[in-house]
Symmetry: C2
Subunit: 296 residues, 2 copies
C-alpha cells in the first residue's frame, strides 16, 4: 500500500474510518511557525502577541495542509474578524476626520482604505507576504506579478491593478489576530493598522474610478459611450468607443473587470489629451465647459 | 408676497442672497428634542447620554427641516458610524459563539442580525419609532404597514417583509450616537445593542431564504425552475413554475424582490405539502430522498 494505513483498522466501517484517519493525521504535516518568523512578523507589525500561535494561524493558507484537507488553523476565521474591526475603525477615522462629510463620500473613503488593493499594498510594502504559508503553486506567480505592476502606481490604482486576494486576506487576518489577542482592544488594533497603512487614502488622494469618470464625462457632454467586450480562450479584450470612435483598448487574461477599467482609463487619457490640445488651439469660451468636465 | 423676504435685501446679488437666506434660516424651524423625549429614549436604550443633543440628531430625518434644506443635524452620519461599529461587534459575537464555524455561515449570521428587517423589528418592538422626527408624508403609512405585517412572522421573515429603511436607520444612528458619546466604548455599545436585539438570530433560528431554498431543492431533485415576472403600472407579479407547473404567485407594489420571495415561499409551501401527502400515501423508499431534500 502506498498510503499509510490507520492503526487498528476496523474493516467493518470503512467510511467512518477514513474520516477518522484524516482527523487524526499526524500533526507534523502543518508545523507551527518557527519562533524567529513569529518574532520577525511581530517586529513588522509593532505588536507582541500573548498567544504566539495566532501569528502562524493568521498567515496559513488552506493549501498549506496539502495533501491533507485544510486544518482548523487557517487564516479564514481571523480574516473575517479582522474585516469587521477594520470596517469599524475606518468608519470612525473618516467620521472624525471629515466632520461634515455626508455618508456617500465617507463610505467611499472607508472602502478605499480597506479594499483589496490597499491591503495588498500594505502586505507588500511591509514584507508581510514573505511569511505567507501555502502550497498553492499559482500564488507566488500572482504575487510576483502584482509586485512588478505596483510600482506603476504611486497611490491606489482605482481598479487598474489586479491585487491577489490572499495578500489582503493576511493583513485582515493579522488585524483579526491582534484584535483577539489584545482582548478586543480596538485602540491597539488601530495603532498597528494606522502605522501599516500610512499614508491613508484621503479625500484629496481618493481619485476617481476610471469607468465612473468616463460615464460622468460622457453624460455631461452628451457623448455616446460604448464598451465592446470580446472574449476568447483566456484573453478578454475591451474596446471603448466614444461617439463611435475607438479611444481605448485593453486586454487582460481572466478578469473582464480589469480589462474594462484599463480600457476606460486609456480612453480618458486620450480624451484629456485631445481636449487640452483643442483648448490650446482655440480661445473660444465654449470649450471651457468640456475642459472643466474632465477636470484638467 | 407670500414668501418672507430677507431683511435688508440686496437686489444686486439675488442668487448668493438666496443661499445666505437659507443658511441663516431661523433656528426654530428644527427645534431640539424636548428633555422628556430625550429621557424616554434614554430609558428605552438603557443608556444615559452625556451629550443630549445626539439623541435628537440620531432621530431626525432630513425631511424634518422642510421647507428648508436638510440641516446638519440629521441622522445620516451617525447611521454610517453605527453601521460600522455594529458590523464589528456582530462579527466578534458570532466568532466567539461559533468557535469552529467557517466564514460563510459566520457572514450570513452577522448579516441577518444587522440587516434592515432585524433592526426595523428592534425599532418597533422597543417603540423607538415613535420618536422619529420627520415631515415625509409617506413614512408613517409605510411604518404602519410594516407593523401590521410584522405579527405574521415570529422571527425574521427571510425576505418576505418589506421593512422601511428609516426604521433600521434610526437604530443604527442611535448605536452610532452611543459609540460617539461613550468615547468609542464598544463594550457599552454592545451592552445596549445586545439588550435591544434580544434574542439574536442564531444558527438554529437563521432560516433559509425562500429563493435559495427553492433553487437548492430544484437542483437536488432535478426539477426545472422558472420565475416569470410581469409588471404593469405599480403592480409587479411573479409566477413560479416548477417543471412547468404554476406553484406560486405573488404581487407586490413597487418591489419586485419582495414579490419574488413571496412567490418562492408559496411554491415551497405547495411542494412541501404535496411531498408530505405523497409520503403518507406511499410507503415506497424512493420517496424518502425528496422528503429529506425539503427538510420536512
Amino acid at each position: 500500500m502506498d498510503t499509510p494505513s490507520p492503526p487498528a483498522a476496523d474493516n467493518e466501517m470503512p467510511r467512518e474510518e477514513e474520516s477518522l484517519e484524516r482527523e487524526e493525521a499526524p500533526p507534523w504535516f502543518a508545523p507551527p511557525m518557527g519562533p524567529e518568523d513569529v518574532a520577525a512578523v511581530e517586529t513588522l507589525l509593532g505588536y507582541e502577541f500573548g498567544d504566539k500561535s495566532l501569528v502562524g494561524e493568521a498567515l496559513t493558507h488552506g493549501s498549506y495542509y496539502y495533501p491533507y484537507p485544510p486544518g482548523d488553523s487557517t487564516y479564514e476565521r481571523l480574516e473575517y474578524l479582522g474585516d469587521g474591526v477594520l470596517t469599524c475603525l475606518m468608519s470612525r477615522e473618516v467620521f472624525l476626520t471629515y466632520r461634515s462629510l455626508p455618508p456617500g463620500p465617507l463610505t467611499r473613503l472607508r472602502a478605499a482604505n480597506v479594499d483589496k488593493e490597499k491591503l495588498a499594498r500594505v502586505a507588500v510594502e511591509h514584507g508581510i507576504h514573505r511569511f505567507l504559508r501555502h502550497k498553492a503553486p499559482q500564488l507566488d506567480g500572482q504575487i510576483d506579478d502584482f509586485i512588478k505592476e505596483l510600482c506603476k502606481y504611486k497611490y491606489h490604482s482605482n481598479g487598474l491593478l489586479d491585487a491577489p486576494k490572499v495578500l489582503s486576506d493576511i493583513v485582515e487576518s493579522l488585524i483579526g489576530a491582534i484584535y483577539l489577542d489584545s482582548n478586543f482592544n480596538q485602540e491597539v488594533v488601530w495603532r498597528v493598522f494606522r502605522n501599516l497603512a500610512d499614508p491613508l487614502i484621503s479625500l484629496e488622494t481618493l481619485g476617481k474610478h476610471p469607468v465612473s469618470e468616463l460615464l460622468e464625462f460622457c453624460q455631461k457632454t452628451r457623448r455616446g459611450l460604448q464598451f465592446v467586450k470580446d472574449g476568447w480562450d483566456k484573453h478578454l479584450k475591451v474596446d471603448v468607443l466614444v461617439d463611435g470612435e475607438l479611444l481605448g483598448t485593453a486586454t487582460y487574461a481572466q478578469k473582464k473587470e480589469i480589462a474594462q477599467n484599463r480600457a476606460a482609463k486609456a480612453a480618458l487619457d486620450k480624451l484629456k489629451e485631445t481636449l487640452l490640445q483643442s483648448q490650446i488651439e482655440s480661445s473660444s469660451s465654449d470649450r471651457l465647459d468640456l475642459a472643466e468636465a474632465v477636470e484638467l
